[in-house]
């Protein structure tokens, strides 16, 4: 019996259309403008350090991390800075971004562009963390939390095991799957780097059982390595959630309000691990990532190694262009992704996929029914909450009661809304309560 997390979860249809399509490296066109937002990570936006009309090379620092939880942003193309202004990004708001027009293909000198695998790790833990920080690596699973922060184990806790998240439980997305298949060797080195940085002697790669080829390949790669193990997991959403993956692999729960390292676990996404390898061994900052471009009516669903800042319509054009019936564009997967309000939004560090939804599936049912108290939402909630109750409290604007009912423990996986037979917008109201509870907490009213 394969492992999985004990409570809740749903089984949405897989729809991994691009699972067998190798990663494509899009051709870089001259005179194309790349829009690089300065806020691609969780935390404070980075401070812009270039001026308009500056010439930048690939890998030039264009915005510097501001504060502890922030990340550096680098130019992903070489060319001229044309604009430093507000631009629409995947948050749905116009926010500060640096626009670069690509004119040539100059790279910063210290970046090693060779294909060669660098196995030897010649750095101390401290140096690794510094390099990860400098390269602006953030969690590529979607949360975009600056990775170096996770490598700095706080006083009083001790990291015991590194968990590598190759679960990719979101339907449609295949970016991590392809990365594991095509960059397996780099991944293993990346894992060794992270183990060294965290000073742990055990690493587990968690992969859902619908990616058997990746499980076998990685098992094969680390068969001589006793420290790294590969664990196949039952297919169940939201297994890729940090807390769910930890309880699936370690049978331990992260205490509420604590970070995973408090029970000795540090979780990194496979995409992040690959970027760590590039950053540490090749001095290459985070300037590109794998993006799945997919959709039921898209001509060629595919995975792209896309430079940060490339407009999403460029990638969609490579996949055969927007289908006639596009009604919704989602950044990320269908369960947790964010709907985009413009086709000119750039790919950022957090974009794991672009999903085009047909217009007839884009909208929810016009009207939702009354709650029939069927317990389905309670059954599927991986956080052990009672979504039906939280929604009622949200509707009645009883934020304090909602907080007492652990509204803030919600991980926003969407399983409740997914399963509700009355199609009630359970998660919408839980989110609303969260926003309001946070505001109240800020004013220290609760």
């Amino acid at each position: 019996m394969l492992k999985t997390f004990p409570k809740g979860g749903v089984h949405p249809a897989d729809n991994k259309l691009s699972a067998n399509v190798p990663i494509v490296y899009p051709e870089m066109l001259d005179n194309e403008t790349y829009i690089i937002p300065v806020s691609q990570h969780l935390g404070k936006p980075a401070k812009v350090v270039v001026k308009r009309n500056d010439k930048v090379k690939v890998g030039t620092l264009i915005a510097e991390g501001d504060g502890f939880i922030s990340a550096n942003i680098h130019a992903s193309v070489s060319g001229t800075v044309t604009k430093i202004d507000h631009q629409m990004d995947s948050s749905g708001y116009r926010r500060m971004a640096v626009s670069i027009r690509k004119t040539n293909d100059d790279w910063e000198e210290d970046i090693d562009r060779s294909e060669e695998l660098v196995e030897e790790i010649n750095f101390t833990a401290k140096e690794i963390i510094e390099k990860v920080k400098k390269a602006g690596v953030v969690g590529l699973g979607g949360a975009t939390f600056p990775s170096y922060v996770k490598l700095m184990v706080p006083e009083g806790s001790k990291a015991e095991v590194l968990i590598v998240n190759g679960v990719e439980c979101e339907p449609y997305l295949t970016a991590d799957h392809r990365l594991m298949l095509e960059k397996g060797e780099e991944l293993i080195i990346g894992i060794r780097i992270l183990m060294k940085a965290l000073e742990v002697d055990r690493a587990i790669i968690g992969i859902e059982n619908n990616k058997e080829d990746a499980i076998e390949y990685l098992k094969d790669l680390c068969k001589n390595n006793t420290q790294i193990s590969v664990e196949g997991l039952q297919v169940k959403y939201p297994q890729g959630g940090e807390k769910q993956l930890i309880s699936a692999l370690l049978k331990k729960e992260v205490p509420s309000g604590k970070i995973p390292v408090s029970i000795g676990a540090v979780v990194h996404n496979v995409g992040t691990v690959y970027s760590v390898y590039e950053a540490v061994q090749k001095n290459r900052p985070l300037i590109d990532r794998v993006v799945t471009v997919t959709g039921d009516s898209l001509a060629h669903p595919a995975n792209y190694m896309a430079r940060i800042g490339i407009p999403l319509n460029r990638l969609v054009a490579l996949s055969g262009g927007f289908p006639e019936d596009t009604g919704k564009i989602i950044s990320g997967g269908p369960m947790m992704g964010k709907a985009l309000n413009s086709v000119d939004v750039p790919i950022t560090k957090g974009t794991s996929g672009i999903l085009l939804v047909a217009d007839k599936e884009a909208k929810r049912r016009a009207d939702y029914d009354a709650c029939i108290r069927c317990v389905a939402c309670v059954d599927v909630c991986p956080a052990g909450l009672e979504p039906y109750l939280l929604m009622t409290l949200g509707e009645k604007r009883l934020w304090e009661r909602a907080n007492d009912e652990d509204n803030m423990e919600c991980i926003e996986c969407g399983s409740c809304s997914y399963v509700c037979p009355s199609e009630r917008p359970l998660l919408d109201y839980i989110r609303l309560s969260k926003t309001n509870i946070l505001a109240l907490k800020k004013e220290q009213l609760i």
Binding site: H86, S91, G92, R94, S342, R397, P425, Y429, L432, T435
Partner: protein, 321 residues
């Protein structure tokens, strides 16, 4: 037979006596002294518990008045001066007159002025929509039109205008309780003085768009584009432009209406004024053109919709009436 009745009576009486003793002990033991004035003050307050005074409800406000040394910062916005005089009588202080305020919506981006570029399909709640994205139109500062302000208004002073898609403040009902100001995720409501005169005239910039002129204008026909024309024309130095957005300081504004005529996008609203007429012969032609253009563009005059008091059958019962 008589013994049964006797026993019953005795039992009932002794139970009653026992309970009475417990109640008496409890009432003595757990007695909390409360200033009787609090109850008295509370009885004259409107009992709406709206929080417009800055206290969570009427009783906390009553408590505050009994402890206060003067009433300068204590004012019931719902009851107004009449109620405050009664309160002042009870607590033995002099009331301080506060100007009557009203909430104004600083957005005139009606559905006609602001083309929709996307369609929202989620729980109808402004805060939620705002945390999802910037809104259905290209303007990320404007009204989302889902009426959360209407939901939180306890006084029936707000309703959504079906044609413009914007909330409308009813100046008779609005008590300036601040509920809409706090709830609006785009921070569009502001409490401003109801305005002088019988008709309560007031002028404000009905826009919160902080984008540059071009971007703002592209998103919305009636956006403030930060052109500074109003600043130049204002003789009272009441207008400041920050982040391409004008703001009229109501303490300095004399309601001269010059800025209203000057504004190229009609972002400044003059409420309850007589119909516009040219003050400056040079402006006459321009204004006529502007009016004509406006009339041609759509026959919905936002001004009228703001001015016209809405007939709401159910008005809130306050002490006043």
């Amino acid at each position: 037979m008589t013994s049964i009745i006797l026993y019953t009576v005795i039992t009932a009486l002794s139970i009653g006596l026992f309970a009475a003793i417990i109640l008496y002990i409890a009432s003595v033991k757990f007695k909390v002294y409360e200033d009787p004035l609090i109850d008295e003050v509370e009885s004259v307050l409107p009992a709406t518990n709206c929080g417009g005074c800055g206290y969570p409800g009427c009783r906390p406000f009553a408590e505050a008045t009994t402890k206060a040394k003067d009433l300068a910062d204590l004012y019931c916005t719902v009851g107004g001066m009449e109620v405050m005089e009664e309160v002042a009588d009870i607590v033995g202080l002099t009331p301080v007159e506060h100007e009557k305020m009203i909430a104004v919506l600083r957005c005139s981006g009606s559905d006609q002025a602001r083309a929709k570029t996307t369609e929202y399909d989620g729980a109808l709640n402004c805060t939620l929509a705002a945390s999802t994205y910037s809104g259905e139109s290209g303007c990320q500062y404007g009204c989302l039109g889902m009426g959360e302000c209407v939901d939180v208004c306890d006084f029936n002073a707000l309703h959504m205008d079906e044609v413009t898609g914007l909330p409308v403040v009813n100046e008779h009902n609005c008590t300036a309780c601040n509920a809409c100001v706090e709830v609006c995720p785009k921070n569009l409501f502001e409490l401003r003085p109801l305005g002088p005169g019988k008709k309560h005239i007031r002028i404000y910039v009905a826009c919160m768009n902080e984008e540059k002129g071009g971007v703002a204008k592209k998103a919305c026909d009636v956006a403030c584009i930060g052109c500074n024309k109003c600043v130049k024309v204002c003789e009272d130095e009441a207008i400041v432009v920050e982040n391409f957005l004008a703001y009229i300081d109501f303490e300095k504004c004399t309601n001269c209406r010059k800025c209203v005529y000057e504004c190229p996008t009609d972002a400044i609203l003059d409420v309850n004024f007589p119909p516009r007429k040219a003050v400056n012969p040079n402006d006459a032609k321009r204004n006529a053109e502007k009016e004509a253009k406006k009339a041609a563009k759509d026959d919905i005059n936002l001004m009228d919709r703001v001015k016209e008091p809405v007939k709401v059958s159910e008005t809130i019962n306050t002490k006043k009436n």
